[in-house]
Amino acid sequence: MSAAEASAAPRIVTKAPPWHTSVAIDLLCSSLAAGLFAVAAIIYLLGDDTDRAVSRVGFALAFPVMIVDLVCLVIDLGDPLRFMNMTRVFKPGSPMSVGVWSIVVFSFISFVCFAISILPLGGRALSFLALGGLPFALVVGNYKGVLFSTTAQPGWSSMRWLGALLSISAGAMGVAVLLAIAALADADHTAAFLREALVWILVLYAIVFVALEREGDRWTRGARRAFPAGMWLTLLVGIIVPLAIALLAPGPDTDCTAALCVIGGSVAFRHVLIKIPHRLGAN
C-alpha cells in the first residue's frame, strides 16, 4: 500500500546500548594507556639512555591510567560484582572477549613495568617486558574500534576504519604526552624525534579521519549533522592545531600545548562517538 501511514514504524530499529560517559572515559583511558606503553616500549627498545629515561616515565604513567580504565569498565557493567564473569570464556569471535583478555595480560605487564620504572631496577627485564607487552598494548589500543564497528548500531556499523583510527589516536596521544614530558625534562634529543614522529602520525590520523568521514552510510552522515561542532572540534583541535604547532612553531615551549590539543581532540572524538546511536535514535 502506498498510502501515507498515520503511524509509521520506527526508522531506526536497533536499541542504543546502555553506554554513556563512563564508556567514553574508558575509551580515552585505554587508548592513552596503550599509546603510552607502546611508545615507551619502542623508545626503550630502540633509543639511547637519555631516551630510556623518558620512556620510563611513560611506563610509570601507563599503569595508573589503566587503573582508571579498569574502574570505568567495571562500574559501567549492569552488575559490577560479576565483572569476573568476563574471564569465564575466551571467544575470538567477540571483540569484547578478545579485548578483556588483552586488558588482563596488558594490565599485569604494565603493572610490573610500572613497578620497575619507579624503583631503581633495571634494564634487561624492562626490555623483555616492553617487548612482551607491546602486542597486548597494540590490541588494547585497537580492539575497541572493532568492537564498535562490529555492532548493528547506526553510525558505528558503517565505520570500517574505526579500529585503525582509534589505534592511530592512541599512538598520537602516547607520542604527544611523552613529547611534553621530554620537553619539560629538557631531553631535547628525545623531544626532537618525538616531534617529527608526531607530525607524521597526525598526518596519518587526518587521512584516516577523512576516510572514516567519507565512507559512512546515511547514519554516519546523520551523525555529522547531529554533531557538527564535535566533529569539527575533533578535527581542528585534535589534529590541525597540534600539526600546525609542530610544523610552524616547533620547540619545547609549544610541545605541551600541542600535547594538550591532541588529548582534547581525543576526548571530543570519543564523546561524539559514544553518543552517535543515542542521538540518531532520538531523532
Partner: protein, 295 residues
C-alpha cells in the same frame, strides 16, 4: 564469606551440555493477528514480568511501543491510512453495514504483528556475548543465562532487530526465552497457547516452514500480492530465524530491517584495517627513533 566465594566461583563450573533436541520456533502469521494483545498478557503473566505502566504514545493504539527487558512479546500496530482521506464518520453518524465494512480496505488498513525475539540461527548477540551467558539451548533457541550475564550491554548493541534490553532492575539483559521452562515440560509457549486466532504458531521449525509456505500461497491467491515470508531462510547477509513471519508489506513497515546484516561478517576485515593503521604509526615512530639514534 562462603556464599560470596560460591557466587564468584559458580559461573566457572562447567555442567554437562544437554543433548540436542528437534529445533523449535515460532511462525507468526500477521494476516491472522487481530491485535488483541493476549500474547503480551500471557507472556507477562507466565514469566512474571512487571507492567510497563499506562503510557500514551499519542500516535497509535500501540501503547507498549517496543520490546524491552520487561516486554518480550509486543503487538505492533501499523495504521496505513492516506493522510488526505476524508475524516471517518463520528460515532453518532456510523451507519455500519456490510458494504461500509467491506469498503474499509480502500480507505486504509491496519497491519498488526506480534513481535518477539527472532532466535536467529547465527545470533549476533550470542556471538558478541563475552561471558558466554547467551547460548543456543538444546532446542536451538537463543537463551540468556541470567545467573551468568553481567550486563555489559554488548548484546544490546549487536542485535539488528532491537530485541534485547538491559533491565534497570537487576542490570542484566533480558528477552524472550521461547518459554524454555514450558518446553522442557512439553508445554507450548504461553503466547502461542493464548493466541485466539493461531496467528502465533509454535512447533518444530521444519514443520512450521512447510506450513508457512502453504499459507503464503493461500494468501497470495486471495489477492495479497505483496505477501512474503520474512526470515524463513538465510540470506547472503543473515542467518534464518527461529521466529519468522508472514507479512503483507515490506518488513520496514513493521519495524523490521529490510536486509538485516550480521555485524560479525566484517570483523576480520576491520581487525586487518586496524592492524594496518597500527603498523603504520609504529613504523613512523620506529623510523624516527632509529634515524635520530644513528645521527
Amino acid at each position: 564469606m562462603a556464599n560470596l566465594l560460591r557466587d564468584l566461583l559458580y559461573p566457572f563450573t562447567r555442567p554437562t551440555a544437554l543433548a540436542s533436541r528437534r529445533p523449535t520456533g515460532f511462525f507468526t502469521d500477521t494476516t491472522l493477528c487481530i491485535g488483541c494483545k493476549a500474547c503480551e498478557v500471557a507472556c507477562k503473566q507466565w514469566n512474571q514480568l512487571p507492567s510497563d505502566g499506562f503510557n500514551f504514545t499519542a500516535d497509535s493504539y500501540d501503547n507498549t511501543a517496543q520490546l524491552s527487558a520487561t516486554t518480550w512479546r509486543h503487538v505492533t500496530f501499523i495504521e496505513q491510512f492516506p493522510r488526505d482521506a476524508a475524516a471517518p464518520p463520528s460515532p453518532p453518524d456510523l451507519n455500519l453495514d456490510l458494504t461500509s465494512l467491506m469498503m474499509e480496505a480502500q480507505n486504509g488498513r491496519w497491519l498488526m504483528m506480534s513481535d518477539v525475539c527472532k532466535h536467529c540461527s547465527a545470533a549476533p548477540c550470542q556471538m558478541a556475548c563475552p561471558t558466554g551467558a547467551i547460548i543456543h539451548n538444546e532446542f536451538n533457541d537463543v537463551y540468556i543465562q541470567n545467573d551468568i550475564c553481567n550486563g555489559c550491554g554488548y548484546c544490546v548493541a549487536a542485535c539488528p532487530f532491537g530485541v534485547i534490553s538491559r533491565s534497570a532492575f537487576d542490570g542484566h539483559a533480558h528477552k524472550c526465552t521461547l518459554c524454555y521452562d514450558r518446553q522442557r515440560d512439553d508445554l507450548i509457549p504461553a503466547c502461542a497457547k493464548a493466541c485466539p486466532t493461531e496467528s502465533i504458531r509454535f512447533g518444530p521449525l521444519d514443520e512450521l516452514r512447510a506450513h508457512a509456505a502453504r499459507r503464503l500461497e493461500e494468501v497470495k491467491t486471495r489477492g495479497f500480492k505483496g505477501a512474503r515470508l520474512y526470515g524463513d531462510r538465510a540470506t547472503d547477509t543473515y542467518s534464518d530465524l527461529g521466529a519468522f513471519f508472514l507479512l503483507l508489506d515490506e518488513p520496514s513497515r513493521y519495524g523490521l530491517p529490510d536486509n538485516p546484516d550480521t555485524p560479525q561478517r566484517h570483523m576480520i576485515a576491520d581487525y586487518i584495517r586496524g592492524a594496518a593503521g597500527t603498523l603504520l604509526w609504529i613504523a613512523i615512530l620506529a623510523i624516527a627513533v632509529i634515524i635520530h639514534v644513528r645521527s
